[in-house]
């Protein structure tokens, strides 16, 4: 279908907490034509007086689910949209969406790997769509996620990532906690830097495809670091967003 990517109404079918400040929403969309892992939707809220605001949210779910998408939203104090989604929206509510959008920050199993995914905070969301797609399609592409969070309670999708890594099908996770580490923490305890990237990326080899998503500073560090490590720039895809550094 050629034409604009128009607005459509979806119905919230499930809401669940990922961390104390991050919540996921499942939105059923009867006319959804499917998406590619890494794409986002625009969400529009319109007040009774006609005032409207739009925000972009990455799709967290894999395309294979069909007919619905998950978005994962971090609550931002003082924001116009995220507090509404957190405090007001419940299953049965309708939301206006436009999408899917984005043809660049996308990975599908057919693209192959090995795959290096680097996330800061809620930057993990579009990467999660890729990880879930990889698991759902049985892709054996060697994949490593380097995930920077502030503290142990702020690791989005922690249990699911643990489960997927426990399957030992070529998916591994390396966490770094930048502000607070629990007793006995064996992961990294600092911001992502080049030595950390080198350690995590090395086993994947020279043909790696890399996707980095998070706050601008993190994404720049990762992109520059990977180029320094010899990865061709055209194999590094980046998406900058997020409220603060981790």
């Amino acid at each position: 279908m050629v034409g604009t990517i128009g607005w459509q109404l979806g119905t919230v079918t499930a809401v669940r907490d990922e961390t104390p400040t991050v919540r996921s929403f499942t939105i059923g969309l009867s006319g959804w034509l499917g998406h590619r892992p890494g794409q986002h939707v625009d969400l529009r809220l319109t007040a009774e007086d006609g005032y409207s605001v739009e925000r972009s949210y990455s799709i967290a779910s894999e395309p294979e689910r069909g007919g619905e998408v998950d978005i994962t939203v971090e609550r931002i104090e003082g924001g116009e949209v995220s507090p509404f989604l957190h405090e007001v929206v419940v299953p049965g509510d309708r939301l206006e969406l436009r999408g899917p959008i984005g043809g660049y920050f996308v990975w599908e199993a057919a693209l192959g790997g090995p795959l290096l995914l680097v996330a800061g905070g809620s930057g993990v969301v579009p990467l999660m769509a890729m990880i879930r797609h990889r698991a759902r399609t049985g892709s054996g592409v060697p994949t490593r996620l380097l995930f920077s969070s502030r503290g142990p309670d702020e690791i989005i999708y922690r249990d699911e990532l643990d489960r997927l890594a426990a399957a030992r099908d070529g998916f591994e996770v390396a966490h770094t906690l930048t502000r607070q580490q629990p007793p006995g923490w064996t992961g990294y305890s600092r911001r992502i830097d080049e030595p950390m990237l080198a350690e995590v990326a090395a086993p994947l080899g020279a043909a790696t495809r890399a996707y980095a998503c998070g706050p601008t500073a993190l994404v720049e560090t990762v992109a520059n670091g990977l180029v320094q490590l010899g990865l061709p720039p055209d194999r590094i895809r980046t998406e900058r967003f997020g409220p603060t550094g981790t």
Binding site: T4, Y51, R98, T216, P243
Partner: protein, 102 residues
Amino acid sequence: MEERIALMRDDPAVELTVDGNAVGGLLASVFARDITASPGQCAHCQTVSLVGTMRAYMRGPGVVLRCPACAEVVLRVVETPTTTVVDVSGATILRFERGSSS
């Protein structure tokens, strides 16, 4: 009824600059297709880059896309209640495939 569009403004969730990817929805409403994976050539330095990789500035009264190589303005889109204004003077070429909306 006056409709005000506040695209990603006044929200601390949004950094001053993000990637062109983030404004793909707005661009799709202008160009009738998703152009984030489409190449555009900067009129200032002639660098060709994908629209999704350009730098998007969203704190002003519209969206400004700047060249990732030289930081000059490539595209500007401003929406008013009744019109959309697109300034393409910073782009030499914008190329996209026909026959696909995504």
